[in-house]
């Protein structure tokens, strides 16, 4: 699948209609989601024929992108049932088979490194400090190949358009700079790689 085709399919997905501020529900835009997954697939072979999990999946954009790129199994986890319902409708619209589980990320255990790849856009931790690290902590325990995660940064490498969803955003739209990180489990001779330059 071509990048443009992926982006346009993701652009048709429904997003949060009533985002919950305490859960920091920012949608992952089609631009950033398509590039994240496209890089994971084409540069690192981390998606097709793999088991992929989307933590804090929200409306399921990243998970849907993984399924579109040929992941054998996709699991979406989120605490919010309303966004999971949108996510499951999105999956149905695209005729994708994704398993969604409603659960707090910390109360769900995983049997070791059973997932190949985790893709996620976790809460940035601006409302509840450290919550982004909680997500990362679980993801790193679960993924045997790699974790792709978006994190807020002061360096503006990827631009993350947040439409005016919350009232306290004064400007019409705010660009939040985020980094895409790719983490790999440490094996001999492997290091954590920052993907900034790749995207």
């Amino acid at each position: 699948m071509k990048l443009k085709q992926l982006e346009s399919l993701l652009g048709d997905l429904q997003q949060f209609s009533n985002p919950k501020v305490e859960l920091e529900q920012y949608p992952t835009g089609p631009h950033i989601a398509s590039r994240l997954l496209y890089t994971a697939e084409n540069s690192f072979d981390d998606i097709s024929n793999k088991v992929v999990a989307d933590f804090g999946c929200g409306c399921g954009t990243l998970g849907a992108a993984a399924a579109l790129l040929g992941a054998e199994q996709v699991i979406g986890i989120d605490i919010d049932s309303q966004s999971l319902e949108i996510a499951s409708m999105n999956a149905k619209d695209l005729e994708l088979d994704i398993d969604f589980v409603q659960c707090d990320i910390s109360s769900l255990g995983w049997r070791g490194q059973i997932v190949d790849t985790v893709v996620m856009n976790p809460p940035f931790g601006t409302r509840k400090k450290g919550v982004d690290m909680d997500f990362l902590f679980v993801a790193l325990k679960v993924a045997s190949r790699a974790v792709y995660s978006l994190h807020k940064t002061s360096t503006r490498d990827l631009r993350f358009g947040v439409p005016q969803l919350y009232k306290f955003h004064k400007k019409k739209e705010v660009d939040i700079a985020v980094d895409l990180w790719r983490f790999v489990p440490r094996r001999s001779g492997e290091r954590t790689i920052n993907l900034r330059s790749a995207v």
Binding site: Q14, N18, E72, E85, A87, S88, D99, G109, W110
Partner: protein, 141 residues
Amino acid sequence: MRLLTHNMLSSNIKGVTNGFPLRIQVEKVVEKEVEINHDFLRNIFPKIDWKALSDASRIMGYNELPEVPPEPSVLESDIEILRKFHHALLELHLEEGALLCPETGRSFRLIRVFRICFYSRMRFEKMVWCLIRLRFGDYEF
């Protein structure tokens, strides 16, 4: 939900010592055909807890999977066992039901793909728009 997902998850609730496997509460099981991918099955085989898979498939009404795991070499040659493994792992779906923590009984709700709710007028309009788009296929609006 596929049994592959069930095989991965456990309960991590505070105080629980052994949260695996989650208990399955079956309300409705459906079978969805998936193309068999031999390489994927052979790669995932060593990661699967066979007993949990075979027990779960029995709960879901599929009795063909042997209780004792086959040798990995058997998977290379025996297409029949590979097909059964594929069916139990990827084609049996828990369409309605719940996963329960084996010790506390707390449930992890599954979200059905076909569940549709209308919360607000806004979403209703979006939904209609979506249906129109689907009907007209490739035409742009």
